[in-house]
């Protein structure tokens, strides 16, 4: 099984071409602006480094959220366009779960993304990526009960957090047989309504 992995959910762009659970070529870069103009050239570059072309992949693993709204749209648009054009299977992956592939010594792993104003997008996983608490948008302090037994993983300098070291092999092994999503139906998992929608809901 050959696959393309795309993660544009944070300022840390990750694109990889894999065969089974081996990374054949990958590209990682911290990009704070213009990820949109980097993504397609990066994919093109990666397929120049491997012996097969993008037409030969079987699956696309797309990290569809939570995370930067713009980043998610960039990645999801690329993934659904490739999947639609080349009739490829596409499997959405949680950005938090991918962060939770980081090796730690505690029983729990708590990946978190700073959502500002004291809130985070976070989930709680165990070492086999079983979900202890599903991904959600919540006040940071509500994580405290899990923090005693877990390691906080984040790219956003949250207090006492550790930077993720993603293990793509672990992710692919777990999700390779997941149900696929039709390309048209693939959307970002923002975990949060827009402000306009929230304000409207409050009024109603």
């Amino acid at each position: 099984m050959r696959s393309l992995v795309i993660d544009t959910s944070s300022f840390f762009m990750l694109v990889a071409v894999m065969e089974e659970n081996q990374v054949l070529a990958s590209y990682e870069e911290e990009i704070h602006t213009d990820m949109a103009s980097k993504i397609v050239p990066t994919i093109e570059l990666l397929f120049e480094k491997v012996t097969f072309s993008i037409e030969d992949i079987d699956k696309i693993f797309i990290v569809n959220g939570p995370g930067s709204f713009t980043g998610l749209r960039v990645g999801v648009t690329v993934a659904k366009t490739i999947a639609w054009a080349l009739h490829k299977e596409v499997i959405p992956i949680s950005s938090l779960e991918l962060m939770a592939t980081t090796e730690v010594t505690t029983p729990y792993i708590i990946p978190a993304i700073d959502a500002r104003r004291g809130y985070v997008y976070a989930g709680v996983y165990d070492q086999d990526l079983n979900v202890i608490m599903g991904d959600k948008y919540l006040p940071f302090e509500e994580l405290s009960t899990y923090l005693e037994k877990g390691t906080l993983i984040s790219r956003d300098n949250l207090e006492n957090s550790q930077v993720p070291k993603v293990d793509l092999s672990k992710m692919v092994t777990k999700h390779k047989n997941d149900k696929t999503v039709h390309p048209h139906a693939l959307v970002p998992n923002y975990l949060k309504l827009t402000e306009a929608e929230e304000n409207k809901a409050k009024k109603e």
Binding site: S37, F69, T77, W84, P183, Y190, T194
Partner: protein, 334 residues
């Protein structure tokens, strides 16, 4: 000569649209998915919601357009996409989808300026003949442009503050006329009389426009009437406002045609759909022996047919982009 088929993608605001145009003039198929109903409930376009809806719909709209055209991507010569100006989050979806398609299918990628699209919408009506003057009137633009040839845009005047479409929307809001304000003000104006003494804005010998003074005059009028315990007659207000707008737009446009010795006028942008403006220009152009082209109503609002049409001429001029095409919220028409 082989036919050139351009697939155009437009997502700069609240319409997801894809179109296939043959040789820059013949429409093969166009799909426009408007989000207007969604945004109407918020009283205007919400950028984040617009971006989200573009992502949901983009591949579906591409597929629907190809199906409608009974074509596959292999039949397409090049892909044209609006790179700007517009809402950045919305633009990104179209630009990324277009770059991806160009990469996958090994097609040339042609960047198109949104306003070039509005201008070239006229070529779907009638082949554009140069030199010409283009009056660009929309929610973001009020420009007079002299074109001596394809893709030669010499701006001779523009708005110093609000765009004309923006002024329509603001006036509609003040007068409590629902969203989208522009078309409704236009419609209402026929039911009213030009009785309110609103000023003719920036009536000078430049080709510039200014609508903030006129807008303020409307706001003051509404407030003053309210303080006197009266309510403004919406139809009369719409008529008075539209009369001033149409008068100043047509006055400066007709003068530009004369001074530049140009016999062709084209109108572009969302406000080109305004019936008051269309009929007055028709009258004046007939008087002056100027040939007037106005896009069909469906090509006045945002659509990808105009992008594919402008894309055809850009393609013929050798304009190309790499897969690293950047979306731009603002950019000079060039």
């Amino acid at each position: 000569m082989n036919d050139v088929l351009i697939l155009g993608i437009e997502s700069s605001c609240d319409e997801t649209s894809v179109s296939i145009i043959k040789n820059g003039k013949e429409e093969i198929a166009t799909v426009v998915l408007s989000q207007m109903d969604t945004h109407a409930s918020y009283g205007g376009v919400v950028p984040e919601i617009a971006s989200r809806m573009h992502v949901e719909n983009i591949t579906m709209v591409v597929e629907e357009c190809l199906t409608k055209a009974n074509m596959t991507m292999e039949d397409i010569t090049a892909i044209a996409v609006t790179y700007g100006p517009g809402l950045i989050g919305s633009l990104l979806v179209g630009v990324v989808a277009a770059s991806t398609l160009a990469y996958i299918y090994h097609k040339p990628l042609v960047p198109v300026h949104h306003i070039a699209g509005h201008i070239y919408a006229n070529n779907l009506e009638k082949q554009m003949e140069f030199p010409l003057i283009a009056l660009v009137v929309s929610g973001g633009h009020t420009d007079l442009i002299y074109m001596k040839d394809n893709y030669s845009f010499e701006k001779i005047g523009g708005t110093l503050d609000d765009a004309v479409g923006e002024a329509y929307d603001k006036v509609a809001r003040v007068a409590d006329i629902p969203y989208p304000g522009g078309p409704l003000v236009d419609k209402l104006s026929y039911e009213g009389k030009d009785v309110y003494p609103l000023p003719l804005p920036l009536d000078d010998d430049t080709y510039h426009f200014s609508f903030s003074g006129l807008k303020s005059a409307v706001i003051n009028l509404v407030h003053n009437e309210e303080q006197r315990g009266h309510t403004v007659n919406k139809a009369d207000l719409a008529c008075s406002f539209q009369s001033r707008v149409v008068e100043i737009l047509t006055k400066k446009t007709m003068r530009a045609l004369k001074e530049y010795h140009v016999k062709h006028l084209i109108v572009a942008g969302g406000v080109a759909a305004n019936s008051g403006l269309r009929s007055r220009l028709k009258e004046l152009c007939k008087q002056e022996g100027v040939e007037l082209t106005v896009p069909a109503l469906k090509y006045c609002t945002d659509n990808a047919a105009m992008i594919a049409t402008a894309g055809y001429f850009a393609y013929q001029l050798g304009r190309r982009s790499g897969y690293d095409l950047k979306a731009k919220a603002t950019d000079i028409l060039h």
